[in-house]
Amino acid sequence: MTAPVIGVLALQGDVREHLVALAAADAVARPVRRPEELAEVDGLVIPGGESTTISKLAVLFGLMEPLRARVRAGMPVYGTCAGMIMLADKILDPRSGQETVGGIDMIVRRNAFGRQNESFEAAVEVKGVSGEPVEGVFIRAPWVESVGASAEVLAEHGGHIVAVRQGNALATSFHPELTGDHRVHRLFTDMVRADRRGESL
C-alpha cells in the first residue's frame, strides 16, 4: 500500500515542523491552504499557531465548511495546541466570532497554563505511545476542561487533560513536532493508514 497523504493546514503556525515529523513517520506530507488541496489528503494536521488567526483565515478563504464536512465524514485529523482548540466542539472563552472546526466533544480553555513566562516542558505519559514518556512542550498552552462520553482522555498533566482522542480525531495541548520525537505523529499516521484500510485503529 502506498504511503498515506497527510496535509498540514498551512494558514499560519509551525507548519514546517509538522511536515518534517510526518515525513519522518513515513507519510507523504503536504501543506493545505485551499479547499481543493484539502480534498486530496487522507488525513490532516492542524498545527500550533494563533487559534484566532487560523480560525479567521479559515473562514475568510472558504475552508471552514469543507474542514467541518471532512471531519464529520471521518477524515483522521490531529491538532496541536491551537489545533486542539480548532478541534474542540466548544471553547470556554472564545474571542468574539472565533469559530472552530469541532470534532471532539470537549471544552477547552485557551492559554490555560498561562502566558509565555509560564510556558514549560514536562514529561507526559500518553496512552497509545509506548516507551519513555513524551517530552511535552507546552507554549501558552490550552487544557481541556471536560470531555463528553465519546472522547477518550490520553494524557493529563498536573491534573489537567492535555491529550484526547475521539474516533479519528486526536488532539494534544503540547507540541511533539518541536521535539524530534515522532511517536505521536506515528500514532496519527497509523490512524490514517487504518482509516484507509476501512478499519478504526
Binding site: A10, L11, Q12, G13, D14, V15, R16, E17, R33, G48, G49, E50, T52, T53, K56, L57, L60, F61, C81, A82, D93, R95, R110, N111, R115, Q116, N117, E118, S119, F120, E121, A122, A123, V124, E125, K127, P133, V137, F138, I139, R140, V153, L154, A155, E156, H157, G158, G159, H175, L178, T179
Partner: protein
C-alpha cells in the same frame, strides 16, 4: 481517571525550546505595532498573530526626535488586558533593567530594539538571564548570530523602521539569506575562518551551515506598508513580518491590517494579493531612504 497516567516530574520554564518554540507558533503571521488597547483589538480582529505594544510608532519617533524609551507599564498592561494574542514590547538595546520590567509585566516577547535609543553602545542585554524570550534585529548574518549567542530566540531583519520604504528590509533579508547560502558551500576548514569574519561563535556558524537556515525563526521588519510588501518579504524567505507604522499611519488601518494578513498567508498567489490590495485607502507617506542622514538610520544601531 485510573487509565490516565499523570507525570509531574519537574516542569521547566524558560528553556531554549520553549522560547524558540513560541516564535515557531508565530510563523506565517503578521505582528503589528499598536499604541492603544483599541488599536490592539483592531489588530487582533484583523488576524494579527501578536501585537507590539509601544508608546509611539517608529514614524512618530522619527518625527518627534528625542530619546525613545520603554513604554509606560500602564499602557502595556492595558494592551495585555485587551487582547488574547501574544503581546510583545520593546526595551532599549543594552537596557536590561527595562527588559526586567517588561518580564515582570508578563509580556510574551521582548524586542531589544534599535527603534528605541540605545542605552549601551557596546553591549546588548544578556538574554539567557530571562524567562521571557527575546527577538532582536539584524542587518546581516554575523549580527544575527551574535544576538542568538546572547540568547535571542527569534531574529527579524531590521529594515528601516518608520519609513514605509521596503528597500532596507529587502537589503537586510537578502544579505542574511545570501550569507547563509554561502556557508552551505563551505567545508569544515573554511567554517573557522567564516566564524572569525562573521564575529560569531563557531558552533553557531557550523549549525547554520548544516541547517541551511538560522536555528531560530527569521521574520522581516522595517518598512513594510502594503500587502505586496509583506508578500515580497515572504517570497524572499522571511517566515513572517512585523508591520510598524504601516498600518496605523494609513487611511484605513482595519482594512489594511486584514489585507496584509491575507497577503502574508497567500504570499505566492498574486490573485489573492491583488484582491487584498484593492481600495485600501491611503498608504503611509514614505521616506526615501537615500535622503536619510546616517545618524537617523536606526539600522546602524546595534553591534
Amino acid at each position: 481517571m485510573s487509565s490516565t497516567l499523570s507525570e509531574n516530574q519537574g516542569p521547566e520554564t524558560g528553556t531554549a525550546r520553549v522560547k524558540r518554540g513560541m516564535a515557531e507558533q508565530l510563523k506565517g503571521g503578521v505582528i503589528m505595532d499598536v499604541v492603544t488597547p483599541e488599536q490592539a483589538k483592531i489588530a487582533e480582529d484583523a488576524g494579527a498573530v501578536a501585537v507590539m505594544a509601544l508608546e509611539r510608532v517608529p514614524a512618530d519617533i522619527r518625527k518627534d526626535g528625542g530619546v525613545a524609551r520603554m513604554s509606560d507599564p500602564d499602557m502595556i498592561e492595558g494592551i495585555i488586558d485587551a487582547v488574547s494574542i501574544p503581546v510583545m514590547a520593546k526595551s532599549r538595546i543594552g537596557h536590561f533593567v527595562e527588559a526586567q520590567v517588561l518580564q515582570s509585566l508578563g509580556v510574551d516577547y521582548i524586542d531589544e530594539s534599535e527603534v528605541l535609543t540605545p542605552a549601551d553602545e557596546v553591549n546588548h542585554s544578556d538574554k539567557w538571564a530571562f524567562t521571557t524570550p527575546f527577538v532582536c534585529g539584524a542587518t546581516n548574518l554575523g549580527e544575527a548570530l551574535r544576538r542568538i549567542a546572547e540568547g535571542a530566540a527569534m531574529i527579524r531583519s531590521k529594515g528601516e523602521a518608520g519609513t514605509g520604504n521596503v528597500v532596507e528590509a529587502v537589503r537586510h533579508l537578502r544579505q542574511i539569506k545570501n550569507e547563509i547560502a554561502r556557508l552551505r558551500g563551505y567545508d569544515n576548514h573554511e567554517l573557522y575562518a567564516a566564524a572569525k569574519e562573521l564575529r560569531a561563535p563557531y558552533e553557531l556558524v557550523k549549525e547554520v551551515a548544516e541547517l541551511g537556515k538560522l536555528p531560530v525563526v527569521l521574520f522581516s521588519a522595517g518598512g513594510v506598508a502594503t500587502p505586496a510588501d509583506a508578500a515580497l518579504m515572504r517570497q524572499l524567505g522571511a517566515e513572517g513580518v512585523f508591520v510598524g507604522s504601516g498600518i496605523f499611519k494609513s487611511g484605513d488601518p482595519a482594512k489594511r491590517a486584514a489585507a496584509i494578513v491575507k497577503a502574508t498567508t497567500f504570499y505566492d498567489d498574486p490573485k489573492i494579493i491583488a484582491d487584498a490590495s484593492r481600495n485600501l485607502g491611503e498608504a503611509m507617506v514614505g521616506i526615501n531612504c537615500d535622503t536619510l542622514p546616517e545618524a537617523e538610520r536606526y539600522a546602524n544601531r546595534g553591534w
